[in-house]
Every structure is written in C-alpha cells, then in structure tokens.
Amino acid sequence: MTQREALQQQAEQRQQVLDAFSHHLLVCAGLGCLHNDEIIKALRKEIAAQGLEQQILVRKAGCMGLCALGPLVLVLPDAVYYQTVTPQDAGEIVAALGKEPVQRLLLPADLPFFSKQQKKVLALSGRIDPENIDDYLAAGGYASAVNAITAMSPPEILRIVGESGLRGRGGAGYPTGLKWATVAQAAGERKYLICNADEGDPGAFMDRSVLESTPHAVLEGMLIAAYAVGAHTGFIYVRAEYPLAVKRLQLAIREAERNRLLGQGVCGTSFDFTVQLRLGAGAFVCGEETALIESIEGRRGTPRPKPPYPAENGLWGSPTLINNVETYANIPLIIARGAAWFAAQGTEQSKGTKVFALTGRIKHAGLVEVPMGMTLREIVFEIGGGIPDGHAFKAVQTGGPSGGCIPAEHLDAPISYESLSALGSIMGSGGMIVMDDTSNMVDIVKYFMEFCMEESCGKCVPCRVGTAQIHSLLQKFCDRQASADDLAALETLCDLVKTTSLCGLGQSAPNPVLSTLKYFRQEYLDRMADPSGPHQEGQL
C-alpha cells in the first residue's frame, strides 16, 4: 500500500468513527474561550451519566470566531451554536440534543456575524480537533500536499500559486507566486523555508487562532511551498506569548512526522522536509523578515538592509522563503481548488479572502474571514454588530500599531491592499481595532508611538531617535503645551522617519500620526497651548 493510500484509509477510518455518532458537540478550545476544558469535562460527565457515550461525541475544536460571546459550543449535525456556555449548562445541552435547542444559550441562526463571512482559510477552524491529525485528514487535509508532491512538478505549483494572485498576508502584500519563483530560481545548494508566526501587532490574533485551530493546514502549506522551491528545512518562528499555539504546533509536527508527511522521504517519495519551531522572545521588530532571520540565527533581532532580499540571501546566507501563517494556510486550498477558484474571489488586485481580528469598541469582537473588497462598514456594522452602549463610531485602525486610523467618512471603502494604502493605512496582518467617541485620537496615537518607540531595535537613527522625539511631541499635545512649531516639527519628523528608516517598522511607525493629522487634525489643534495664555514652550 502506498503512503497515499494509507493516508486515505486513515482518513476514511476516522470518518467512519465520527459518522458513528448521532451528535457531535464541538467545544471551542481556543485561548479566547475561557474554562473550555471544564465545559468539555462537564459534557462528558453528563453524557457518561446518561450512558450516551456511543451516541454523542464531545470534541475539542479550534476557534469559532465569535470570541466576544464565548465560550462557544457547536452542535452537529444541527449546526446550532450555543453562546457563553458554562459547565453548569452541560445537562441542559445534552438533554436538548435531537429536540428543541436550549433557547437561553442559542445564538440566532441568521446572525450576520456568521452569514456575512466567507470562511475558506477558517473553514475547518472550529470544526475539527486541532490536536488530532486524523480529524484533519478526514476533512480532506494533506490531500493537496500529497497530490502536489506525488503528482505535480514544482514549476506547475509555482504557476498555480502565481496565477492565483495570492499576495502575502503578513502585511506588505507582495505577490506570493513571485516570491516563490525567486527562491526557486535562486542559486544555492541549500534553501530554507520560514513561517512567520511572530504576530506582534497588539490587537491582532489571526495567526494565533489559525495555529491553534488548524496547525496542520499551515504545515501542509509549508510542505507544498518547500517542495515547490526546493527547500528541505523549514522553521516556524512563533511568539513565546502563544503557549497554546506552540503546544499544538509541536504536537502537529510530531503527528505529521509519524505519518511520514514530514521528515525523510515525504509520502514515500525522495523529497525530505523537516520543520523546527523557533520561539520568539518578545520583540515586535522580529516580525520584519530580516530581523526574524537574525533572531533564528541566535542574534539580536535587528533588520538588515534590503536588498539583498531573503529570497536570494536569507537564513545563513541561503535563499529563504518567508511567508506568514495565513499565506501558507491558503496554499492547500489553492492547490485543491485551483488558481481560478481563488482568483474569482476578492478584487482585481487583491484576490481571495482575508482574516481579520475585529476588536476594540465593537459588539461582536472576534475573528472573521471576508472576501477582499467587502466594505469596512459591512465588517464593522454588520459582522461586528456595530458599537455597543449607544456610542458613536469614530475610527477603525487597521494594520497594527503602525497602521492608520480610518474615519467614518471612509467606511464605504472596500478592503484591499490598494484602498487601505490610499487611505493612509495598511492591510498589515489583519488587526482591526474599532474606536468610538470615548477615544481621544491624540491619546491613542501617543500609545501607538510609545509602542513603536519601545519596539524600535535602535539600529537606525531616524527610528531610534525619531520615534522618541515624536513621542515627546505627542506628550506635549496631551499636556496641552504644544505650539504651532510643535505641530510643524511633528510633520517634519514623521516624514523623516517614514522616508529614511531602515525597515518597515520605522517606515510605517508615523502612519497613525499622519493619518490622524489628516482625518482628525482638529483634535491636535484643540490640544495646543492656548496662544493667549502664558508662553509654555520652555517646559519640556
């Protein structure tokens, strides 16, 4: 029996096991659903007490998205969601199986949070047990990788990824196919693959959730990429602050190795690919690819000037492919369904779907996946349910601490790399933080600048000193001691830091200031020293 057939059989066996149960209770076991382990225990205890172990299966699952109303429990095949479940609800939930659902806990079936989304990357998230490779196999997992490695040539894969129009989901939106082709063509005996899971943007948890929910999808994407570019060693650089993601990745790597999906002779072919984890250590700048490489090499995570790009001269001087978690997670889908299927979603230049972490002053905070081109208004007001407690929307900040703040008048802008950039923001990795009328923009921007200042590696002068200078200027505004000169200096410094900094962190650090100077200038003016009052400039 070939490896391919063996995996097929394993998947079928698992499916038979799953099919043997009349009901499945999937409990979200993501970081965001607190006490999920107790809920699982309570459900199992209840089922055992009623002797229903053969009929009802309780499964640990990945993130279901609506973290604001967690812990969530999904009942299959009914596709009923229960919200804010506690262990005490176990009896009622089990009793209601096959009958009327528990109204008290029921999430409305037509909630736009679910109906407006198009889950592709997240399709299996919350539907399978992330700690069980058989669950992933049964859901069709690894079929793309096996097919790619046993039946496709690397150029064929490069062509499909290129034609799909997929762009890097880590922030800059570089065409993935182009990057892969560069690495594939780069001269060098040894090539490396890196998965950037150093999701450092405060307010963003897309990668954490994908890693916690479908770690095998990321491994599968990496495997396909490695085969396509000719890399035999891969690294996943993941934040140490994500212990659950780390644990599930470790487990996933072990299980993939045991099933000969990683290691020597993948799928019985002569292709070798091993994956190792590297833990980040709390430095936002390591999300920048060259800094990440420095960090894997055991050094201070300071970025290197580009060019040379990692695709030509990366880890230990070898051609290196770096993509982020969500980018890799898209690959198995593209291989399975084809470039045309992927390219049919999204906008002309930004194809596919994008996962966003919707947080801040919003009703339905959580993880969402929408096609590119959806408007911010739809995301915030329909999927997100709008602003709670009767407050008014003020701005949505996309792209993490170095993204821009987009005001209400641009809520109808469609989400794409181009449109966000035109609005003075960035796609970033997908953080989306909603602010309402209780937020003061100058305070918020000072918070972002403090973040950038503290996370600046200190290597280049404009970012090291410039962010600190901008931060003190913003402090002057907060203290109502700023002058017109300070406003001018703020603009000069932002331009300097943006234009001359060495890496993306510095180059984008002024974005929050620049976007709020554009859209919320009055808030700066309101916080200047009273020109008729005593001259305060000397006060530092």
Binding site: P202, G203, G282, A283, G298, R300, A357, R361
Partner: protein
C-alpha cells in the same frame, strides 16, 4: 577568557535539560536564543553564572550573549516574585482601560511594570498583547485570565487575588 562558572551552580540537575538543547544544536552559536529559553524555563530567570556557562558552552562572546538577553523583552535577569500579575497592554486592552489598571497598581501597590515587591511575593508584568483581544481588557493573575471586566471589577478581583497571594 571568561572564568568558568561555579561548580555548585552546574551541579543543578536542571542543567541537563539546558545542555540537551545545546547538544541538539551541536553547540552552535545560533542555538543561543533556544538555550536562553530553556535556561529561563528551568531557573525562572537568567543569572550571571547561567549566562557565563551558556556563553562558554556555545563559544559565544559574552557581550553577544548579553546583547541578546537585553534585546528581547521575554528574558529576565532578575528573579520574578512568587506570584505574577500580567497586564496586557495590547491595543484592544488599552482602548478598554488597562492603562488605568496599571495606574491603579502603581497608586495602590507602588508597582510599575517589571517591578517586584520588596518581600519578593508579587511581580507586576506587562505584555504587548496576549492575543485574546476579544476578551479585552485582559489581566492574568498567576496564569488565570480575568477578562471583560470593568476597571472597578477587575481591580476588585486583583485586590482579592493579592490578598490571597500575599
């Protein structure tokens, strides 16, 4: 050359785990960060003797080791208190008021992020986003999450926890 660390320190069983990590990387210099993780997991923090030993084993210049240790927020060169309160200062938690939790901690317990009480009982730490933004604001007391609470609620819970802990 750097002086070898004291033997007493090395007799600690925990060094076996750390040595295993270094061996897995053939004692290459690029194992530094992985080794520091292992050492901090084992000892709770990285003291001078630990760093000396790691530098010697990985044949890495001391200044390079210290440069790495001080670059990354995660590495601590001082022991933590017996109990830790972690305040998430990610954007979502900031927007929802964790800055005021920090101010409250300073006002009521004279603790700033990174500080440990003089009796070594409690440490206050801040982290840049634990990634549980939908639960904002998030405070973690000895590993258990306090989430989605108002300032009054969360400070009351912290006070209770501190009283139990201290």
């Amino acid at each position: 050359m750097p002086t070898p660390p004291s033997d007493l320190h090395l007799q600690d069983k925990r060094w076996e785990t750390i040595d295993r990590v270094m061996r897995r990387h053939d004692f290459r210099q690029d194992a530094l960060i992985e080794t520091l993780h292992a050492a901090q997991d084992a000892f709770g923090y990285l003291d001078a003797d630990t760093l000396r030993h790691i530098a010697a084993r990985l044949k890495t210049p001391p200044s390079k080791v210290y440069g790495v240790v001080t670059f990354y927020n995660h590495f601590k060169t001082k022991p933590k208190g017996e109990h830790t309160l972690v305040v998430c200062t990610g954007t979502a938690c900031h927007v929802k008021g964790n800055d005021r939790v920090l101010a409250w901690m300073e006002e009521h317990y004279q603790l700033k992020p990174g500080d440990t009480t003089t009796d070594n009982r409690i440490s206050l730490l801040e982290v840049r986003c634990v990634g549980a933004c939908a639960l904002a604001p998030v405070v973690i007391a000895d590993g258990s999450i306090i989430a989605k609470k108002s300032l009054a609620e969360s400070t009351a819970m912290i006070r209770e926890w501190l009283n139990d802990a201290a």
